[in-house]
């Protein structure tokens, strides 16, 4: 028998969302913290649970536009996500996305933050070269944020994204389908995020929850409290790519 937590790859897993429920407004975390994320639909948008032809489950975010109530998002209260309050330490964020270029806005993938104040977030943007960005917000440092990004995250395609951040480094790395990608960094690199007491949000701009909607599909989004190596991203990629029809 293989134990989930005994697999090396799952060591220090803090969030694991396989989106297996297939129904309802709640999605559960199979990492030890048992975070519970709740679907929110402020206006005309919707969520859809589904399965690919392979059987792979997914959660689809279906906004109807870029307006203040047009999108949908997942939320987990700040009090329940203190373990995702990354500041000086190592962390990794990854999972499978097949996103849509719905509006000209950046689309928030996942974050626990307040823009330009504290915390961290990942977002996608189609108009800037299909970028995936990681932002550290740190108003206490004078500059309100530092950002790094990579290009080539073509919408409409399943990608395994991976971000590994060593606390001792100012230069986190991104991986696409487990291959390192060319990175751009703010001058001076990525400074530590300020400590944040914010909800974990997926699919919308934090705090206002009124824009920057994420479009389309996600599966198996994960967060670790350590920096995954390229070999570990490759392990994940080769284990899971068959579900998404990716070579």
């Amino acid at each position: 028998m293989i134990g989930f937590d005994k697999l090396d790859i799952n060591h220090e897993l803090l969030l694991g969302l396989p989106f297996r429920e297939g129904a309802g407004l709640i999605t559960h975390d199979r990492a030890k913290p048992h975070h519970i994320l709740t679907q929110h639909v402020p206006g005309g948008g919707s969520f859809a649970w589904g399965n690919l032809d392979t059987g792979c489950p997914y959660l689809e975010f279906i906004p109807i536009g870029g307006g203040a109530t047009d999108g949908v998002y997942l939320d987990c209260p700040a009090a329940d996500t203190a373990d995702l309050n990354f500041t000086t330490g190592d962390y990794s964020i990854g999972g499978w996305i097949n996103w849509g270029a719905g509006t000209s806005q950046s689309e928030i993938l996942i974050g626990r933050y307040a823009t330009e104040v504290d915390g961290w977030d990942c977002h996608l943007n189609a108009t800037l070269g299909a970028t995936l960005s990681l932002r550290h917000n740190h108003s206490s440092l004078g500059t309100n944020h530092s950002t790094c990004f990579s290009r080539g995250w073509t919408p409409g395609t399943w990608w395994l994204f991976g971000i590994s951040r060593l606390g001792a480094s100012l230069f986190p790395l991104m991986y696409r389908n487990a291959a390192p990608v060319v990175m751009s960094y703010s001058a001076g690199g990525m400074l530590d995020p300020d400590t944040a007491n914010r909800d974990l949000v997926m699919g919308a701009r934090a705090i206002t929850l009124a824009g920057n909607w994420y479009y389309d599909y996600m599966w198996n989004i994960r967060v670790w409290g350590r920096a995954l190596s390229e070999e570990e991203w490759k392990f994940i990629f080769h284990r899971e790519k068959h579900w998404l029809g990716v070579n």
Binding site: G3, G22, A23, G24, R30, H34
Partner: protein
Amino acid sequence: MRIPQSGLRIDEASWPLLQAQLTYWMTTDADGNAYGTTLVCADLINFASYVGLPFKILSGPSQGQVRLGNVSAAGTLTVASEFTNAAGAAQQIVAGTRFVILSQLGGDGGTPPAPPSPGVGLWMFGECAPDMAASTTVVRCPNLAGLGDDLFNTEFYMQVIHNADAPGVAPEPEIRQITDYVSATGEFTAAAFTANVEANDCVCIVYGMIYTPSVLIQQIFDLVNAILVLTETGGTVTATAPGTEDNIYINDAPAGVFRPIGVMLNTSDLAGGETVIVRTRYRTEAGGALEIQGVPTLFAGVQAEPMKYIELKPNRFGVQVTIEGTAGVVYVWEVFYKG
């Protein structure tokens, strides 16, 4: 050896130097192939093989380019990779093109190095011709021409190792069995890739006995990867009210067969006069309804043994455990499953 003497006096100082540097100097007397990988010069049949020596074009669009000779047969020379023009496209070496075969000395100053022919390796690198038509099955690599018709059929495989205009995208890194090989052009036919192989892509040709073990390893990996993993998740549910069922655990559309084991339900928040009913449902066909299995279980009042265990069965199409109980009572639960 055939080198020009016109304009040279018998005691010309450059004559021995020319003899040392050049092996053969001539003009092609017929068109080479359209892929730029052959030169035709009937006079060559009068001389020993020059395979392994560099061939340099002296006139025409490819003038100045040097390629290694791979094969020499019946007055036709095949070079290791195509001659090209200013646009980078394959350039046919037509009749009347001046060329020279350069002398290539070995490290001991004497014997030339052994020619690469026949040039067949267990792993070979192929460059798709710049003018190659996109195809899922036919791939032309001029640098692999001249190795003998059908040599690679069946026992060799082709892998696309670089998609030149879309790195990382199919057909990279697919691998397919080779079914035909045309020596004159370096054209391979393989089982169909899922996307076109295109000009300037890079491939490798791999002998089956090398490739097969990696296939077996992949198959073993796939088997291991399909082993169900003991996994746990859980949460907290607050009962809505009698008449409303709240999900504890649900997997409404599993990816495939899996093994739910059981749900641990903590009823320690249940007080006197409060009740909860636990129900388990299964779906046994795609698109079917979730149907109750077993008798719904009622728990009423304070529980002497508050931790309840609901055993679950193997499943393919969906499973659900719900509670229906007094409003506001909080239940902490966890589920174990192999999935």
